[in-house]
Assembly symmetry: C2
Homo-oligomer: 340 residues x 2
């Protein structure tokens, strides 16, 4: 397996080191190549994602990313020029975000019940395309726009992927989340697409919810959800709500997939670079390790993925929730469990 | 006080009756005029909001609205043609949504701590303007767009209102919520506007958070928020998260304000028409009564507003959370408390 590794900034290198530790414990054949991208490279050289680097990344089977970002970089530069650039250039149209409440993990909810949902967020369209502009900047007549672009091509492929995942799960339930009553143009496309594709998956029951109502039910009744499909911006928000109720972003894994397999998919913890705790060895690498699990699963290495996930599940169920996290110790434990 | 009353559909008439009971208990001078608008009128006559009715509504000091909506009406019709039409025609640029955890109310959070935030959502711009369209409908080449429109005029007035509210509260703290790192055009306008207006309010401390992070902190640390200002769509989502953690939409009140006073402001519970429980006398009218409190406050009837809010606070602190709600009994109790 040829793996490109973008450790990035802040706690990125710390958690990625543990992710690789666990990965190599189950998959000794990994050849990993580090890529220096992120805030520090930009601050040093002004480079974000040179074409040559992008070409090299394309030669890999998958990419593991830690975290990108630093308070000294103006907002938007690394997001547009690096993180979203990777997702768009590599056609990562499926943003996969499981949200499961593991045994032993404390939810902020008083009575969470079992939670096991798979959020599937579109990754290459919607309000994330960067379309829009500003006129009469800095005058009282300024107007700023943002355009959400949604195509039948783009919506259909992510909806189809969501149905494929739903039909393979025990509950076979899919919920579309949107705001079709207000965003009627895009909403209609999403609704019609779900309806059409659902005809091919008669075993899957389908529900629809407005994003505002869903955000509430994620808190009051998260157990009702199985697979969720939604647009890029709604997905950004609701997956953080889902992460919060399942124990926080310290545990939230994600995959940015090109489901067609043309380009390498990219796996990253949902959390950011957390500069406030960087270098102190106390970041929780679990989200990165779970992202490694998604990576293995995506590459068809089902048994290796199972080992990684089982290691995390066991470790979480036996962790003392009050004991402070030591990054390398967590990685050592998980590597031993997964590889043993 | 000339009050227009739109009871609407489902549980709307039931909760509005109790809202009026409490209102007249503290403000015997209310002259209320009922307006028949909503799903049932549309189903009967095809009318949504006739110009003549809109003109009549304009002649009032305020509007009290129950709930609009029925499963037999296609999604989007009542929203665009009535609810949003009222907000846009009457220039309701401030959508006021307090989220307070009252004593005695059970939060779904295990350890909510004190929560007392005032969400201020822009009401006449953003992705809600209905701008966008569809080409090549029902073909594989279909493209659907939604355009978020943001103007210096519109952003500045709601931001200024938010600062005015923040400076009058003990904590004097304001949080802008947006997604400035991705929606860079609109985000820049919002950020610059908050920065500019903040110069006039040196007593107010200002914070910024991305909407995804904020949705998480609303769950893990809601006590940190005081006043929040945000755009129309983000506001739709995060105010439901805020409602969920403070006990649910049964308690969430809202005001749609024309802060300039040119048009009447409109007050409504955040919940919908709940057709599943309509006519059974078990809807909780508390959100409507709290909306009456916002109405009185908006009209400068501070002492009457105080009585209504105190009645609700007392009643909630003494309610048996397990006892079923009886709509009229709750209204009777609140009216007696507020008027006594
Ligand atoms: C950093 C940012 C561009 C990104 C997003 O909005 O997608 C992040 O919030 C995420 O969810 O991965
Ligand atoms: C019914 C709908 C148009 C409305 C909105 O999205 O604003 C509702 O969700 C609300 O929050 O008042």
């Amino acid at each position: 397996m040829r793996l490109a590794v973008i450790s990035g900034d802040g706690i990125g290198p710390e958690v990625v080191a543990e992710g690789l530790k666990v990965l190599t414990a189950v998959a000794p054949d990994v050849e990993s190549t580090p890529y220096d991208l992120g805030a520090s490279r930009w601050l040093r050289t002004g480079e974000l994602l040179p074409e040559t680097v992008l070409d090299e990344l394309r030669q890999h089977d998958a990419i593991l990313l830690g975290a990108i970002g630093d308070p000294s970089v103006p907002s938007g530069i690394l997001e547009r020029g690096l993180l979203l650039k990777l997702r768009f250039e590599l056609d990562h149209h499926v943003n996969l975000r499981p949200a499961k409440l593991f045994d032993g993990v404390q939810s902020p909810l008083a009575d969470p019940g079992p939670i096991d949902m798979l959020c599937i967020r579109e990754g290459t369209e919607g309000p994330y395309v960067g379309n829009g502009g500003v006129i009469r900047r800095d005058t009282p007549q300024e107007v700023a726009t943002e355009v959400s672009l949604n195509t039948a091509f783009g919506v259909e492929r992510v909806v189809r992927y969501a149905f494929e995942r739903a039909v393979a799960r025990p509950r076979r339930h899919l919920t579309l989340i949107h705001k079709t009553n207000v965003l009627t143009h895009a909403g209609s496309l999403w609704s019609r697409t779900v309806e059409e594709v659902s005809a091919e998956f008669p075993e899957v029951t389908v529900a629809y919810q407005h994003v505002d109502a869903a955000s509430m039910f994620f808190i009051t009744d998260p157990g009702r959800y199985d697979v969720i499909v939604t647009d890029n911006l709604f997905g950004d928000i609701i997956t953080d709500v889902a992460a919060a109720v399942t124990g926080g972003i310290g545990l939230a894994a994600s995959g940015n997939l090109d489901a067609s397999g043309t380009h390498p998919s990219m796996f990253e913890p949902v959390h950011g670079s957390a500069p406030d705790i960087a270098g102190q060895g106390k970041a929780d690498p679990t989200a990165t390790v779970l992202s490694v699990g998604l990576l293995l699963e995506h590459l068809g290495r089902t048994e290796q993925a199972r080992k990684v996930n089982a290691a995390v599940a066991f470790d979480l169920s036996t962790r003392d929730p009050k004991a402070p996290i030591r990054t390398t110790e967590v990685g050592d434990r998980l590597a031993a469990l997964a590889g043993g």
